[in-house]
C-alpha cells in the first residue's frame, strides 16, 4: 500500500479524530473527492454530507458533517467542520430535524446570499435523507 495520509477532523469544540488513513472521501463543494497521500495542495469548502475514512488505524469510519472546509496538502488533510457527528448516531430523525432547521433558515434569511446557502444545505440534506 502507498503512503498513508494523516487526517484530522476538528470541530470548533474539540479535535474529533486524528489518525493515518489510506483514503478519505470528502463531500466537496463541487463534488465528492477522494483524498490520498500525495494529493496536490487544495482548500475547499464542504457541503453537508459524509466523510468516509478508509484504512485508518482503526476500522473504517464515517462522519456526517454539516458545512466546513478542508485543507489538503500532500501529507496532511485537515477538515474543519462546523459540526461533525459519527455516522452511527445519524438516523432519519436527526436528518429530518436538520432539514426543518434549514427550511426555517430559508424563511428567515435576510439576504439573498444567506438564502441561497440555506437552500443548498436543505437540498443536500434531503438528498442524504432519500439515500438513507
Amino acid at each position: 500500500m502507498a503512503d498513508k495520509i494523516s487526517f484530522e477532523l476538528v470541530s470548533p469544540e474539540r479535535l474529533l479524530l486524528s489518525e493515518e488513513a489510506d483514503m478519505v472521501t470528502l463531500p466537496g463543494a463541487e463534488g465528492d473527492m477522494g483524498v490520498m497521500a500525495g494529493h496536490m495542495p487544495l482548500v475547499t469548502t464542504l457541503r453537508p454530507g459524509v466523510i468516509d475514512v478508509k484504512g485508518g488505524s482503526q476500522s473504517d469510519r464515517r462522519y456526517f458533517v454539516l458545512r466546513g472546509f478542508a485543507e489538503v496538502n500532500p501529507t496532511k488533510l485537515t477538515v474543519l467542520a462546523e459540526e461533525a457527528i459519527p455516522m452511527a448516531q445519524v438516523d432519519a430523525a436527526v436528518l429530518d430535524q436538520r432539514i426543518r432547521d434549514a427550511e426555517e433558515d430559508i424563511l428567515q434569511a435576510k439576504t439573498e446570499g444567506i438564502r441561497a446557502k440555506a437552500v443548498e444545505t436543505a437540498n443536500s440534506l434531503k438528498a442524504m435523507r432519500a439515500g438513507l
Binding site: P12, A29, E30, L42, V43, F69, L80
Partner: protein, 288 residues
Amino acid sequence: MASVKDMRTRIGSVKSTQKITKALQMVAAAKLRRSQQAAESARPYAERMTKVIANLAAGVSGPSAPLLLAGTGKDQRHLVVVVTSDRGLAGGFNSGIVRLAREHIAALLGQGKDVKIITVGRKARDQLRRNFSARFVATYEVGLKAPNLELAKPIAEKLLELYLSGEYDVVTLVSSKYKSVVTQTPTARRLIPAVVETKAAGPAPFYEYEPDEETILAALLPQNITVQILSALLENQAGFFAAQMTAMDNATRNAGDLINTLTIKMNRTRQAQITKELIEIISGASAL
C-alpha cells in the same frame, strides 16, 4: 470590651462563612478542570483556522479583498466587545477585564473616536453601565451552562450584521486570556478587520482553491469570528474558575486566621474573668 458570649457568636459566624468559601473553592476546582479541558480542546480549530486564513489572505489583497479582512479603511467608529463572567466572588478577575476595557475606551475617546460597546456577561454590563450606558449596543449573559456554539453564534451574527451594515470601522474584543491557574491576563485584540499573521518562513505553499479564493474567504471569515468569540468565552470560563478557586482559597485561609485570633482573645477574656472572681473570693475570705 466584648463579652465572652459576643465573641463566641462572632467565631460561630466566621466559621460558617469559612464553610461556604471552602465549599465554593472545591466547586470551582472541580469545574476548573472541565472548563480548562474545553478551552484546550477548542484551540486546534482556532489555530488551523488562523493558519488557513493567513494563507488565503496572502493571495487575496487589494480592492477585491472582503470587508471583514480589509476593513473599511477608516479608523473612526469603534465597537468594543467586553467579555466577563456572570458571577463574582472571583477576586479581581472581572475588575481586571473591565479596567482594561475602560482604559481602552478612554484612550479611544481621548483620540476623538466614536465608541460603542457590546457586553457579554453580567459583570461587564453592571460595571460599565455607570459610565458608558449610553454607548451600549447590546448586552448578553453567559448563563449557567458551559459556553458552546449556541452561545457564541448569536453574538457573532449580531457583530457581523452591525459591521456589514457599515456602522463600524474596527471591532475589538476584550477578554481574559487563560495562561495558567495562577495567571489570567486581560487582553484586547482586534477582531475585525482580521489580524493576519505574516509568516517569516518562506513562501506560502501553492494551493488550489475550490470553488475560488473569494468564496472560501467569504465563508471562512464569519466563521472565524464565531470561533474567536467561542474561544474567548471558553478561556474566560476557565480563567474565571481559576480566579475563583484562588480567591476562595485565600478567603478560607483568612477566615481560619480570624478564628484563631478570636479564639485566643476569647480565652484570655474568660481567664481574666475567672482570675478576677478568684481574687474577689480570696480577698473576701482573708477579710473575715
